[in-house]
Amino acid sequence: MAEEGAATGGAVAEKVVHTYPLIRHTDMSEEMRIEAVELSVTACEKFSQNNEMAARMVKESMDKKFGPAFHVVVGESYGFEITYECTTICYMYFGGNQAICIWKCS
């Protein structure tokens, strides 16, 4: 019992939930990248239960700021193969379980 308890306690201690935004791949400029990350964080926090709304918010904001046409995917598990305009892709993780892909292709 004691051992188990200790083990679980150890496991709990080991398990660290990371929620910070983590950029996996990007070629955006510094300014755009910061903006995109901030937007994603805001959107995902605002619509934590609704990825569609979050994606829409990010997309519309990015469109306003950097011109159309941005594409945003927010999801927990998906695969993609996209063509993007150079210097406009940002693939990042947020909240420990969400993958957000932002790119522009018009």
Binding site: H18, L22, H25, G79, Y84, C86, I89, Y93, Q98, W103
Partner: protein, 759 residues
Amino acid sequence: MLKAMIKRALKKDDETVLITKTLSRLEQKETASKSRGNLVEDEALDWLKPRALLKPDDQEDVPEADLEEEVGRVLTTINPQWVADEVAYHYGQGRFLRKARPTFGKAYPLYVYQGTAIRKDSEEAKAQIAAGYGMVGFDDAGPKRAKVKKSKAEEEEEEEPEPDTQPAEEAKPEEDAADEERPKEQVDEQEVVQPEVADEETEAVADEGGEEAATEEKEEGEAQVEEKIEIKPRVKKLANQFNFCERAALTYTFPRRSVDTQTIPPPRANYGATGLQCIIFDYYQEDYAKKQREKEEEKPKRLRKKAAKHAKSAQQIHDEQLAQRIREAWTILERLVNQNIYDDIAQDYRYWDDPSDEFREGMGSLLPLWKFQFEPMRNHAVCEVQWNPHYQDLFAVAYGSLDFTQQQKEGCLCLYSIKNPAFPEYSVITDSPIICLDVYKETPYLVCVGRYDGNVCVYNAQLTLESSYQYKSDSVRDKHSNIVWEIRWGARLIDGEASFFSISGDGRVVQWAVMPGELQATTIITLHSSVAPIPGPDGTLLTVNSCGSCICFHPEKPDIFMVGTEDGMIHTCSLKYNRNYVRSVQGHHMPVYRIHYNYFNNSIYASCSGDWRVKIWEDGRDEPLFMFELGSPVGDVKWAPYSSTVFAACTADGKVYVYDLNVNKYRPICVQAIVSKKTKKLTRIDFNRQLPIVVCGDTKGTCHVVKLSPNLRVMCKPPKKAQGIDQRSLQIMKLDKLLSLVRDPPFQTGVVDEKFDDD
């Protein structure tokens, strides 16, 4: 008419030049014909034809007379070929009819054009105008169709009536027949126009063309002469699908063209990834691990540094400790050696009192003890010497140069201990001569120095020599622009920072606050002088500041200070006023070198100057209480810390004067030459606070420590009535008694002088 005909005839030959020539000639001579001979002889035409006319062989000979004969030619409109009795068979009537006689000759219309023009002055036109058509314009409202049948000749004739009018007049006399024809023509025209006006039924017949139509028209025209006049005014027809007229204009159409450009499409790239929970988690873990690693990497760096430093410092500490121990050992050894060498001096210092004093009432002597010299500063002058307020055996020396024509390049700050006369305890060479210094009473290892280049520094004697100064004024921003003549520590500021004041030859008194890492300057007062502004080279007026030479703070009032200037003025100033002096006294006639307050009475101070004089002043008096002339520039004057009436002065001729006003108000009780006046001058002097010794510096970098003989340090004996009074009160009383003696007779100028002179 004639002209027209000729024109027409000549046109066929296509000789336009000739046409014009001929026409002009015709007009000139008004003759229709010319003889050949004339023509040949005509100079204007001689280029045209050869003079010798070629004749065919079979040409008939014509007599010259015949050739010369003028043949008149008459041209008429009547066709001479016309057959008067021509008949034609009329199939309709089945008989031969006589053809109508055309007025213009035998002609056959080849082409008929129905003209719409009518003469304006014709009857018909008048009628139409009367009917209201004239206003509209004939073309618009006129008859749609007019049947006119004319021969070609007639048409031509009709076309050219206007241009012909003038030549016609000329031709008239010759063309009687033509004249006769004119009315006929008019009639014809009327006849021609007639049918259109009359009825349109005839048009069908007329359209068939031919002579029959013409004849019919003729007949009808003759028949309808009466009708013609009865033309009803025509109403303007309404436009309908048959008679409306459409007009259009086509504008220039601009050619169009298309221009295209194509930009390079923005560069694109492909990217693909899979976002799965496991991948996200893994990546987070990876990133987290990386961050941790970085952190750890950073930490060891610091730690390593520290450790390295520590390890190094352990070694260093060891070294330092060792060095310290060695140094201490060496110091002890050095002192032992010195003690052995200077044993007699030490003995003298400790025990020798001049026995002759007992026999010389009121006179004393100075016993020379050690001489302090710093080898690198051999040629420097001692610009300031000051006993340390805390360590009685320690004094600070500022090495600079007072020979301003041959100024030294470097200076030195030294701390000497009388325990070690051989070498300074602390010495730091500076890059500019040091003119003044002051030891901070609160922390006696802090020494502020004023330098020849106008900078002020603070040295910490505890620090190693490598660190040099601890604080230094900013050479660019706020240093003095002249020599810093005297520097004095002041009271702490409100915020607790130490501060010191410096006076410089640029006429400013600056307070320096010792902030962490820097000195903050505040100009306290700018010494204005009485000299009027001097016009500068560019016309601006330069205000002249008087050069400050010494400063002295009131012992009790920290915001009152006195300033001596190079023009001999002694200004009493306050920190609270930065423009005005509290008091101003013309104390001397040469630069004031020192002002020093009495240790026992805060209103008494002494001043010395380059004008050979030492003066004793009382605050608030414009005249000195005492004045002594020492026969040489007085470099320094100091009150003795042990007696209220004793002061010492050193002069440029190498003597030290010690006065005791209580013993002798007019003469020094001791005059002793310390250095040879030929080679050296005494610059500064300072009493040791505790010990009966005086240090004075000379211009060759030597500090002389002399011992005061017993007569020079006589203490007050308490009166028998009041045995318990301490020495200080006694001293104050002594001075007050003395002052009352001086004060009681109203002080007059020259009294002291007289007495002095008398003596």
